[in-house]
């Protein structure tokens, strides 16, 4: 297991325990403190501190012009962030749910992602778009979607998904410091604790998990680097966000010696880590919550196949959300839990 990843030079200090929300809050706090060009805005993020409380206390601490509410117009939020980025600021905006990022799609695709290229570097717009995504909270179809694949198809954007408080803070700081626009998708189901899809079992808080030890101050987790959470010899499981816990649980439950890789950054993806693993194991299962067809699993499958064809001993399997909207009452039938992953692992092993 790659946990805990203590901060470099931490030298054995006892670190505070944070859940993912607190870690994200701490990242923004750190960056507001360090860089006067960082500012935060979005629906309800100001006085209230956000519907998931990620920006709690930041307006009080830094004032209303550094953390404020916006009108309910996601297109306007992203557009003004682009203008600010072009000015030289580093806006960090929250889209209340990833499901509500679509009204801003044109500004993201045609503008944020293209500005540097089309102006040959004359203009660029550093910005981070934070947004909670994914299911597992009975949010129904418009509070549960996983739209990551479409962002990975938009060249010019980076797409990042953390899976622990430690990574969440370190990756968010990297995203804020990055000079390109970053879509930072937060797996909302694991804001308060890791979740492996065993919804009938008691909830585990982050404090029980080593990766909840989060340094107070500044540190980064680099973009573009995956994390091998469990090494194994029999197959490779590629996952990100909430799904890494499903993967780990399936690996344990199945008794199959699987290597579990948390991608952390989807674009640019850490191809070397993926290829090294699949070349070793010869088998690969890819899991995500998003609908299957043209999901990010398709790209991963294509990449693995292209890079590791001669090492593959069985078809790569995708375990994903079904190609339906996320149905309220069928939360657990929809959510790709450890049983579905285990079944796929067995097929891949036998294949």
């Amino acid at each position: 297991m790659a946990y805990p990843q203590t901060a470099p030079g931490n030298g054995g200090l006892i670190m505070p325990t944070m859940n993912m929300i607190q870690a994200l809050n701490s990242a923004m706090d750190t960056m507001l403190e360090r860089d006067p060009n960082v500012l935060i805005f979005g629906e309800d993020v100001g006085y209230f501190g956000g519907v998931f409380r990620a920006t709690e206390g930041l307006q009080r601490k830094y004032g209303v012009t550094r953390c404020f509410d916006t009108p309910i117009g996601e297109g306007g939020i992203i557009a003004t962030a682009i203008g600010m980025g072009a000015y030289g600021l580093r806006p960090v905006v929250e889209i209340q749910f990833a499901d509500y990022i679509y009204p801003a799609f044109d500004q993201l695709v045609s503008e944020a992602a293209r500005l540097r290229y089309r102006s040959a570097g004359d203009f660029s717009a550093a910005m981070t778009v934070r947004t909670p995504y994914g299911g597992g909270i009975f949010g129904g179809q418009t509070h549960s979607q996983s739209p990551e694949a479409i962002f990975t198809h938009v060249t010019g954007l980076k797409t990042v998904i953390p899976s622990t408080p430690y990574d969440a803070k370190g990756l968010l700081i990297s995203a804020i410091e990055d000079d390109d626009p970053v879509i930072f998708l937060e797996p909302k189901r694991i804001y308060n604790g890791p979740f492996n899809g065993r919804h009938d079992q008691p909830v585990v808080p982050w404090s029980k998990h080593p990766a909840s030890e989060v340094p107070e101050g500044y540190y980064t987790v680099p973009l573009g680097r995956a994390n091998i959470l469990r090494s194994g010899e029999q197959m490779t499981i590629l996952a990100y966000g909430t799904m890494v816990y499903v993967a780990l649980t399936a690996a344990e439950a199945s008794g199959i010696d699987a290597e579990v890789i948390d991608l952390r950054t989807l674009l640019p993806v850490d191809i070397d880590t993926i290829v090294a693993s699949v070349e070793k194991t010869g088998r690969c299962v890819i899991i995500h919550e998003a609908t299957r067809t043209s999901g990010y699993g398709a790209e991963l499958s294509a990449l693995v196949q292209e890079h590791c064809f001669y090492h593959l001993e069985a078809p790569i399997e995708r375990v994903t959300g079904w190609d339906t909207p996320y149905p309220h009452a069928f939360e657990w039938e929809y959510f790709p839990g450890p049983e579905r992953v285990t079944a796929a692992m067995r097929r891949v092993l036998e294949g």
Binding site: G46, T70, P71, I72, F138, A329, E333
Partner: protein, 409 residues
């Protein structure tokens, strides 16, 4: 040249936050009856003042006064009152159901019942409504079975939406109630499209839609107004200004700088501002707008000035961002109390009848809940799993069929 003073960023702030004592005496509330009622044929440009006034019918003595008095018969008023009571009782019960863990989520319309109810009374039964999540009152006013609403809230086997939607996101075509979306504002221009279709076909049905004041900031609001104006669509566009959008006060939507009704002016649409807690005013304004629409004069934008008495939803805690007693200080009162007082003033109602009407409403809700709950609440029982794969498309394509098979259902 470069001796200019520094710029500064303005971020609007509400007057009161938790701990403050709200005081609305500064709020300009025009006298009931003081706003003129123009002919429906009026040029929108000539009634810009109506976007800044406030149409009110019920005065402080509970009388109906002025040109906007729709002169409804007491029986209609009583039905309106009962419908609002039923809506409130329904909201209370479903809210409690959520608190009891019987469903995942709920949203009340408490304090805003007149908005949906009076409009429903003023519209024809076959006009198509494109509501937000806070106009459940429309379904109730139109007599949609509470039982079915509850089954939807519980996502149980009798849920007409087969467990697919978040509670409160009803759909009832036969009752002229368009499927509620989780994405704010999308229904506003859709209503315009529906109205255009009705006009295209030479039909006589009109459309109506509702968004919150916070939602007016979405591009969809603008698309709706633009297309409605250009094609003179027979549609009523309602903005329910209940002062809050989750934790954001109306100033964050631009409400400090102008009224929401005034947004209409730039499109050449009539924009009228109405006391949303005054059943008669809402009825009269809707009626006026409906007549215009039916006469091929096009769309009207109505701002309904009201107050969101409860939290945004069961996920919200308003005491974190506004004074606890703000609702009580709100000067436009409670729509149910105001209509009740009017009926009493007319000699058509009394406290006893009110008490018993309220009990009836609560009892009706309770009975429906018993019936719905008996079929299961969220997590206890639900529609058959294989239905989860249906209706993505009219006919199930191969890839979804195989996924259903993969699931073994």
């Amino acid at each position: 040249m470069k001796n200019r003073k520094p710029l500064s960023l303005r971020v609007p702030q509400p007057k009161y936050r938790p701990g403050d004592s709200p005081d609305f005496t500064g709020l300009v509330v025009p006298e009931a009856g003081s706003v003129r009622r123009p002919d429906i044929g009026v040029r929108p440009h000539d009634i810009a003042d109506l976007a800044y006034g406030m149409i009110r019918v019920l005065d402080s003595h509970h009388r109906a006064v002025g040109p906007w008095d729709p002169k409804l018969d007491p029986e209609t008023l009583r039905r309106g009152l009962q419908s609002m009571l039923l809506t409130r009782a329904y909201d209370d019960r479903m809210y409690r159901a959520q608190r009891q863990g019987r469903t995942s989520f709920y949203m009340k319309s408490t304090g805003e019942e007149a908005v949906a109810t009076a409009a429903s009374f003023a519209l024809e039964r076959d006009d198509m409504c494109f509501p937000s999540y806070r106009q459940q009152g429309i379904l109730i006013a139109r007599g949609y079975p509470l039982f079915k609403m509850m089954c939807q809230v519980y996502s149980n086997p009798a849920d007409p939406l087969k467990g697919r939607q978040l509670p409160i996101m009803y759909s009832a075509k036969d009752y002229g109630f368009f499927s509620i979306s989780g994405n704010l504002g999308t229904q506003f221009p859709q209503a315009v499209g529906w109205a255009m279709a009705s006009a295209y076909k030479g039909d006589d049905r009109i459309a109506a839609s509702w968004v919150g004041e916070g939602t007016t900031a979405e591009g969809d609001f603008h698309h709706a107004c633009t297309f409605a104006a250009v094609y003179r669509a027979p549609v009523i566009l309602n903005v329910v200004n209940n002062q809050w959008a989750i934790s954001s006060f109306s100033g964050i939507a631009g409400g400090d700088d102008s009224t929401f009704a005034s947004r209409a002016i730039g499109y050449g649409l009539p924009g009228i501002r109405v006391d949303g807690n005054d059943f008669l005013a809402v009825y009269a304004a809707t009626q006026w707008a409906a007549e215009r629409a039916r006469s091929n004069m096009g769309a009207t934008l109505i701002e309904l000035y009201t107050y969101r008495v409860e939290g945004h939803s069961t996920s919200d805690d308003p005491s974190r961002y506004r004074p606890q007693d703000e609702a009580k200080a709100w000067p436009l009162g409670d729509p149910i109390v105001r209509l009740k007082n009017h009926l009493i003033q007319l000699g058509e109602w009394d406290e006893e009848r009110h008490e018993s009407a309220n009990k009836d409403a609560v009892e009706q809700v309770r009975a429906s809940d018993r019936e719905a709950s008996a079929l299961g609440t969220l997590g206890q029982a639900k529609p058959s799993i294989k239905t989860m794969f249906e209706d993505v498309y009219k006919d199930m394509p191969w890839h979804i069929r195989r996924q259903r098979q993969e699931m073994g259902v």
